[in-house]
């Protein structure tokens, strides 16, 4: 199986091996003569980016560089911060939904990262450099997610984005109530939006009781210092441990939900329990409650125009992201899909056409905005000195309909280079053809004619 995997990744690995050979620690790299979309400030035409090690050292025109600096001439191409996808399910081994139970915060995507998922490479070819890969939406309180940097070729552990906040997935509506599922073994509480919210509340109360029991026990231990008879500890429950930590604010809540009323309701619940609700996932009706979202300081990670696949995804429009952004909501466009991930820049362009976002705001929606939602905006999301050198190079403006991503860097290292890729692909294709032709040739008969 392993060999098969390797064979399938041959082209990619070839490309990477040759790139990574030239990489050394703390080297300097100058990207010169690019049209730099900084996001944080003005665009710089014919600008340079100096990278030292993994970080952006300087951005500007006519930068002085030390001897021995590697140089990539961008020849007027466009460079923007690496695209960030705040809602993805790639690089997960096996299923993304723990459907065996209703409340499952004890499961963690971190434990099942698959660093060999080819979709990581495909994402890089679309300029994506960081992702939040998460548990599915089958459970009111689902599993924990993880933020990754797409260091293709690295181990699972090495891909984890250092310092990113811990997240947990919640889900409302049709998925947790299993509206669109059928077949045997599918009857499960809840079947209504009421039941979904009730399950969350019930779990919170249980977690509070659980925490109290432990607090009381710990107090007793303290008090019994020196005495021989220690109190019996309560039963350890890993699920309630996490739920109790949610109530303590340890996790950033990412709540899947479509309808505006269920969103409002869960906002009330979070206020009541003091839970840190960071972002609604999809939130296709978020445009209806834009001001409420702003007031509650909750973001919406949504689609550009994916809709009508189910009832709760029907009352929406491609103008929704722009409408929300214009009313002050922190909006991100996410993929939720390995394929959409490759063209998030097209999705961003749609917010210009539908609802009239400015080009800068359209690009923020796939860079700094998701970075803020993921709590990694100090490290990535803009092109500024001191930030990680995660960059995407496009042959035209990234919102141009004919744009092509030509190069993607993570931590100052080139992980995708289209020119090199094409070269390697052609070689591999020649090899493949040769093998195929040989396989089809009739085998020569050694003894001349047969009788």
């Amino acid at each position: 199986m392993k060999q098969k995997k390797l064979a399938a990744l041959l082209i990619v690995v070839f490309a990477l091996a040759s790139v990574s050979l030239c990489q050394t620690k703390e080297r300097s790299l100058l990207l010169k003569n690019g049209n730099i979309i900084t996001i944080s400030g003005e665009n710089i035409q014919g600008g340079n980016i100096l990278i030292q090690g993994k970080k952006i050292a300087k951005v500007g025109k006519n930068l002085e560089t030390a001897a021995g600096t590697d140089v990539i001439d961008l020849k007027g191409k466009w460079v923007m911060p690496g695209i960030i996808d705040s809602h993805s399910h790639i690089a997960i081994e096996g299923g993304v939904n723990e459907m065996g139970d209703l409340i499952t915060p004890e499961v963690d995507v971190k434990d099942v990262i698959n660093p060999e998922d080819i979709n990581i490479f495909y994402a890089l070819t679309g300029g994506v450099t960081s992702i939040h890969t998460m548990h599915g939406s089958g459970n009111p309180i689902g599993g924990r997610g993880i933020v990754l940097k797409l260091r293709w070729g690295a181990s699972a552990e090495e891909m984890i984005f250092e310092g990113a906040p811990l997240t947990i997935k919640w889900a409302l509506g049709e998925n947790p109530k299993q509206t669109n599922f059928s077949g045997p073994g599918r009857a499960r509480y809840p079947k209504t939006r009421m039941g979904v919210e009730a399950s969350i509340r019930k779990e919170f109360e249980q977690a509070k009781d659980y925490r109290r029991e432990w607090d009381e026990y710990n107090q007793k231990v303290k008090e019994s210092k020196g005495k021989k008879a220690l109190p019996l500890p309560p039963k350890k429950d890993y699920r309630l441990e996490v739920v109790a930590d949610i109530l303590k604010g340890k996790y950033w809540i990412r709540c899947h939900g479509y309808q505006s009323e269920e969103m409002l309701s869960i906002m009330r619940l979070c206020k009541e329990y003091g839970v840190k609700l960071v972002c609604f996932e999809h939130g296709l009706e978020g445009y209806r409650i834009a001001d409420e979202l702003v007031k509650f300081n909750v973001a919406d990670s949504t689609f550009a125009d994916f809709w009508a696949y189910k009832w709760e995804a029907y009352q929406t429009m491609p103008q929704a992201p722009a409408l929300m952004a214009k009313r002050g909501v922190l909006v991100a466009l996410n993929s939720d899909d390995a394929e959409r991930m490759r063209h998030l820049f097209i999705d961003a362009a749609k917010t210009v056409r539908f609802g009239g976002l400015s080009e800068l705001d359209a690009l923020k929606i796939i860079t700094i905005n998701p970075a803020i939602i993921m709590g990694i905006d100090k490290q990535v999301g803009t092109i500024e000195a001191g930030k990680d050198a995660d960059l995407a190079v496009f042959n035209r403006h990234p919102l141009d309909p004919y744009t092509v991503c030509e190069m993607t860097l993570v931590d100052g290292k080139v992980y995708f280079d289209r020119a090199k890729y094409i070269e390697d692909w052609k070689k591999a294709e020649e090899e493949r053809k040769k093998k195929e032709e040989e396989a089809q040739k009739p085998k020569e008969k050694k003894n001349g004619g047969e009788v």
Binding site: H89, K310, T316
Partner: protein, 429 residues
């Protein structure tokens, strides 16, 4: 449910309010006209009468009673044709009562889209906004999903929409399954001989149909013979087998395409291929067979990782360069019908000539479906199906300002605009 009814009412109301009389005469002035067939006309005029294009040229006289539309600085293109869609068959994918696309069983060659299509699906209006004026609508599933229809993207009833009640038959060719996209583990590839065996089954079915038709013919010529009991499935295959009705063969891998080429040649079918994800490997052979290709939605990854990450995009250019006649389609999701132009733009970004891309949205599908006498270009006498746009129609920042279908000035506003106008006016909280 209530909401759906309300929605339908809204759509109907907007049609009532805005639909102009299809007998109206229009003169569009001062536009850059791209007729697709023939030379571009700068600062040109276009006259519409009785649903047809009456005249194209510079400085046309303004007949009396004609509505004049000044299109200075804008561009006129023939309406785009979506060569494979599910419009009017699927409203909301997850709600079974709004889905009429797939019948039970594998062999349903007699089923007609014409019997089920809902002309008032919201997806017609939302999919017109980038210039689509006609679409092929096809059912799915099994080996013989049924008969597609070619329709205009406007009409009160199906008969009013239809360009061809029956446009093509359909065959889903067996597909050697692609490795799953999530990781490369699991699922062994189907062996080639399995595919061949499945093809044999299709051939056997067609042979049965031929036999039935032969017995029927013999009985019609000889009163002593009893005709076989009526078989609607074989009846429906009759025009396919005599080569008068084209059949869309959905096929994906290079090896499957080679098998399909052999299959349609042996069966003497008038074939149109669809998908052809690995078509770039056998483009010359497709060209040699003279078979056109319907490109599927480009929102998909490579068939296999070895094809290259960019295979779906470059495949289009490679087919066109080999001389294969191609056309674009929005594919399986009617809710993303407007993205037809974005697929074309992706293909252009990866090497397809822009002019070819426009042809693949207009005259090529018209020729492929045998309606180039009516659709696919701006020529005198053809249906007045066209749109007026602010720029390059493949650029998603351009905006279609006016759309005409059969000479009718169509209201561009749709379900999205209804929502947008309502909610953007919600008072600040």
């Amino acid at each position: 449910m209530k909401k759906i009814t309300l929605l339908t009412a809204l759509v109907l109301l907007s049609v009532l309010l805005f639909a102009a009389d299809s007998n109206s005469r229009f003169l569009i002035k001062n536009a850059t006209i791209i007729p697709v067939v023939g030379e571009k006309v700068e600062n040109g005029d276009l006259l519409v009468e009785q649903g047809k294009i009456k005249a194209i040229g510079k400085g046309l006289q303004t007949p009396e009673g004609v509505q004049v539309l000044d299109a200075s600085g804008m561009f006129i293109y023939p309406g785009f044709i979506d060569a494979f869609s599910r419009f009017g068959l699927v409203e909301i994918g997850a709600i079974a009562s709004t889905v009429d696309i797939r019948e039970l069983g594998k062999e349903n060659p007699e089923l007609r889209v014409a019997w089920a299509l809902n002309p008032h699906s919201v997806h017609f209006a939302t999919s017109r906004i980038n210039g689509t004026t006609s679409a092929l609508v096809a059912p799915e599933g099994g080996t013989f999903p049924g008969l597609s229809a070619l329709v205009k993207m406007d009409g009160w009833t199906f008969p009013e929409m239809q360009v061809k009640e029956v446009a093509t038959s359909l065959i889903n060719f067996p597909i050697t399954p692609r490795p799953p996209r999530e990781g490369l583990s699991a699922q062994q590839e189907t062996k080639e001989d399995v595919t061949s065996k499945l093809v044999e089954k299709i051939k056997e079915y067609l042979a049965e149909a031929r036999h039935y038709l032969k017995l029927k013919k013999l009985a019609s010529e000889n009163a002593n013979l009893t005709p076989p009991p009526h078989n609607p499935k074989f009846e429906a295959l009759s025009p396919v087998l005599d080569g008068t009705l084209p059949v869309i063969v959905s096929v994906e891998k290079a090896k499957d395409i080679e098998l399909a080429l052999k299959f349609v040649q042996e069966e003497k079918l008038k074939a149109i291929f669809r998908r052809c994800a690995q078509g770039f490997r056998v483009a010359a052979k497709i060209k040699q067979a003279g078979i056109p290709v319907i490109i599927d939605s480009l929102y998909q990854g490579p068939s296999e990782p070895e094809d290259g990450y960019d295979a779906p995009y470059k495949n289009v250019a490679e087919l066109a360069k080999a001389g294969v006649m191609i056309c674009f389609s929005s594919g399986d999701d009617p809710a993303l019908g407007k993205d037809l132009t974005y697929h074309a733009a992706r293909a252009v970004a990866f090497g397809l000539d822009h002019e070819e891309a426009i042809k693949a949205l207009t005259i090529n599908p018209a020729k492929i479906f045998g309606v180039d006498g009516r659709l696919g270009s701006l020529e005198v006498g053809k249906d007045a199906d066209f749109f007026i746009t602010t720029g390059d129609p493949l650029d998603l920042r351009s905006e279609v300002k006016h759309l005409f279908i059969s000479g009718k000035h169509i209201d561009i506003a749709n379900w999205w605009d209804t929502l947008y106008n309502k909610w953007k006016a919600r008072p600040q909280k």
